[in-house]
């Protein structure tokens, strides 16, 4: 009954696949171009001076260890190159002032751990850590939200040009609309999945990528799945009700939510600004994107909103928005006349 929507999605996913395919090809080109820089030998030469002693050792497990020792600078670097399995680098160097401190910075598969102990700083760099799924979901959602925006005029397009076909099928109206929503939801999730696979392939070109699904990442996946669907449902309801101007609805959707986001974020300094801020905040409650934060555990291990204690509430609101907006779209679809 929803064959047309399947065809529509097939076409959009084909475009997504082409774009992601180009991305993977670019990654391959990049990988080939930078192949010789992947080995430490290529860049060690640029690092050390004539006073540095460089030693190469092959460990029993196949790890290629390079030790750079500069007695004059009191700098000692150990690089364990495990090839495709990544690198483990320990840098020991003097620090300018004596203090006790340590810090962690994670970005993607790279983890940097720094310890200040007395007058010495030891920095440990691991390049093959597990990549938080949070990053993948952020990328996947970016693509999924674009696809959702395009698909969200599904019912409006039918109303504007094809009602005589869609409403004369032997199918209750509500079932037809629910079918369209189900097919589009599958398409949006497929776009997400394709993006994750494409970026994973890109990462595999450079290292044996491991993904971290635990803790905050599991929650990010849950939010990442439901947010594009809630966004789609919101636009579907808007375009179905304002079907004559569905193009304008889709065109202005992003600028409006970005504007609301800015107005909500700005700290009010006077009564008028406070009023505008409050109105923007109230309106933004209708927007599924306002319940999302892309804050990550990358910086000093700080937990983002996806991992915060109100995750359950935010997730429930996203699901609720999806259901309510979807119901509004179906209700309007049941009312339309040719």
């Amino acid at each position: 009954m929803n064959y047309v929507e399947w065809l529509r999605i097939r076409n959009y996913l084909r475009i997504v696949a082409i774009i992601l395919g180009i991305l993977v090809v670019l990654a391959i080109v990049l990988r080939v171009s930078f192949a010789r820089y992947m080995s430490p030998d290529a860049w060690i030469g640029h690092m050390h001076t004539s006073k540095t002693v460089v030693t190469h050792v092959m460990l029993p497990d196949g790890t290629k260890r390079t030790i750079l020792d500069n007695a004059a600078d009191r700098t000692h670097v150990v690089i364990d190159d495990r090839g495709y399995a990544g690198k483990h680098i320990v840098v020991t160097e003097p620090t300018s002032r004596a203090h006790e401190d340590n810090s962690n910075v994670n970005f993607g598969s790279v983890a940097v751990h720094e310890i200040h102990h007395g007058a010495v700083t030891v920095t440990t760099i691991d390049t093959n850590g597990a990549v938080p799924m949070l990053y993948y979901m952020a990328l996947a959602d970016f693509v999924a939200l674009i696809v959702a925006t395009i698909l969200a005029a599904a019912l409006a397009r039918e109303i504007n040009g094809h009602l005589e076909i869609s409403l004369t099928k032997p199918c209750p109206r509500a079932r037809f609309a629910l079918g369209v929503i189900a097919v589009d939801a599958a398409g949006i999730l497929a776009a997400s999945l394709m993006t994750i696979v494409a970026f994973y392939l890109c990462q595999l070109l450079f290292e044996s990528a491991r993904l971290d699904f635990s803790g905050i990442n599991a929650r990010a996946i849950a939010i990442g799945v439901v947010v594009p669907l809630a966004w789609y449902a919101m636009l579907l309801a808007a375009t179905t009700w304002l079907y004559r101007a569905y193009g304008a609805v889709l065109g202005f959707a992003w600028p409006v939510v970005i504007l609301l986001g800015i107005l909500t974020a700005i700290q009010p300094t006077n009564a008028v600004a406070l009023f505008v801020h409050d109105v923007a905040w109230t309106l933004s409650r209708l927007d599924p994107l306002s319940y999302v934060s892309f804050a990550s555990p990358a910086y000093n291990g700080a937990m983002g909103d996806a991992g915060s204690s109100d995750f359950g509430l935010r997730f429930a609101i996203e699901v609720l928005l999806f259901v309510v907006y979807g119901a509004l779209a179906v209700w309007q679809w049941r009312r339309v006349e040719a």
Binding site: M1, Y3, V4, L7, N11, G161, H162, L163, E164, I165, L167, T168, K169, P170, C171, P172, E337, A338
Partner: protein
């Protein structure tokens, strides 16, 4: 399906009544022509029949039951305008209907498309207006429906394909199915339809079998020697449906008993009195164009 009954159907848009108290009965096994000038309410009537528009009042019943989603399995529709998906191929439209209707016959659809010289691989957006109509007609006739509602099904088609569509309609009626169609080409309606209804301003103005309407109605034409002449005795005559006068010529639409009216004209001094048969176009035009009502006949005394 035995019959479609439209009872006191009314559909208003704001203050405008597109259909105003229409009552029709469409039997099965016939081709039924719905005629009317532009804006008469034909398309709105079809939309109400198919559930595309909700009647303001009145009912449309299929064998005594209101339209339900399952009923649409048995109804094929060719809309007045192109509603196909421009970005889809013709073959994809066939597949769309195959999935939607259990009784749809894709082989029949491709056969019809071939007869209309439509390439199934082409995108609909690349087809001419006539070819798009042909696609819609092919999809409708391949549905094996019991009721075919065709809103100007020959629009944009060449004469050969127009004739083909008429043959398809007659074949469907011969199989016991109901074909309801509208067309501005009265000749086609006359050729295909057994029964017609003429609507104007949303109201039914004429209904009956084509043969009865043609057999029952005559034009009595008389030429008077002078522009002033009397038609004494015609006013209020129940057989006189309308009178059109153009200077010395008077044409009287008569329902039954034309000889009596011809005799009266001759008695009034008319020369060259003739009784003329009507074709469907005449009947249609008399039904929808304003004429002189019988009560308004101006009777003037013959000049001495």
């Amino acid at each position: 399906m035995e019959k479609i009954t439209i009872s006191n159907l009314k559909k208003t848009y704001g203050t405008i009544a597109a259909v105003d108290g229409l009552t029709l009965e469409i039997p099965s096994g016939s081709v039924f022509g719905l005629l009317g000038p532009n804006g008469a309410g034909k398309t709105t009537t079809f939309k109400c029949m198919l559930g595309l528009a909700r009647p303001t009042s009145g009912t449309v019943l299929y064998d005594g039951a209101a339209l339900a989603p399952a009923t649409l399995e048995r109804i094929a529709y060719v809309p007045e305008r192109n509603v196909l998906y421009d970005w889809m191929s013709v073959a994809e439209h066939v597949e769309m209907n195959r999935r939607a209707y259990a009784s749809f016959d894709p082989a029949r659809a491709f056969e019809l498309l071939q007869a209309f010289s439509v390439d199934r691989r082409r995108r609909v957006g690349a087809l001419s207006k006539g070819m798009r109509t042909a696609v819609m007609v092919a999809l409708a006739f391949a549905q094996n429906a019991e009721v075919l509602v065709l809103d100007e099904p020959t629009s944009g088609l060449d004469p050969v394909n127009q004739r083909h569509v008429l043959s398809l309609m007659i074949n469907e009626a011969a199989k016991g199915n109901s074909v309801v169609f509208s067309s501005h080409q009265i000749g086609q309606v006359e050729r295909a339809a057994e029964q017609i209804a003429v609507i104007d301003g949303g109201k039914l103005v004429l209904q009956g079998s084509v043969d009865d309407l043609k057999g029952d109605r005559k034009i009595v034409e008389g030429v008077f020697p002078d522009v002033t002449y009397g038609l004494d005795g015609l006013a209020g005559n129940p057989r006189v449906a309308r009178v059109d006068r153009t200077e010395r010529i008077v044409r009287i639409l008569v329902t039954g008993g034309a000889d009596e009216i011809a005799a009266r004209l001759a008695a009034a001094g008319a020369t060259g009195v003739r009784v003329l048969d009507l074709n469907l176009e005449d009947i249609f035009l008399y039904a929808v164009s304003p004429g002189t009502a019988t009560t308004d006949i101006v009777v003037k005394e013959p000049t001495a």
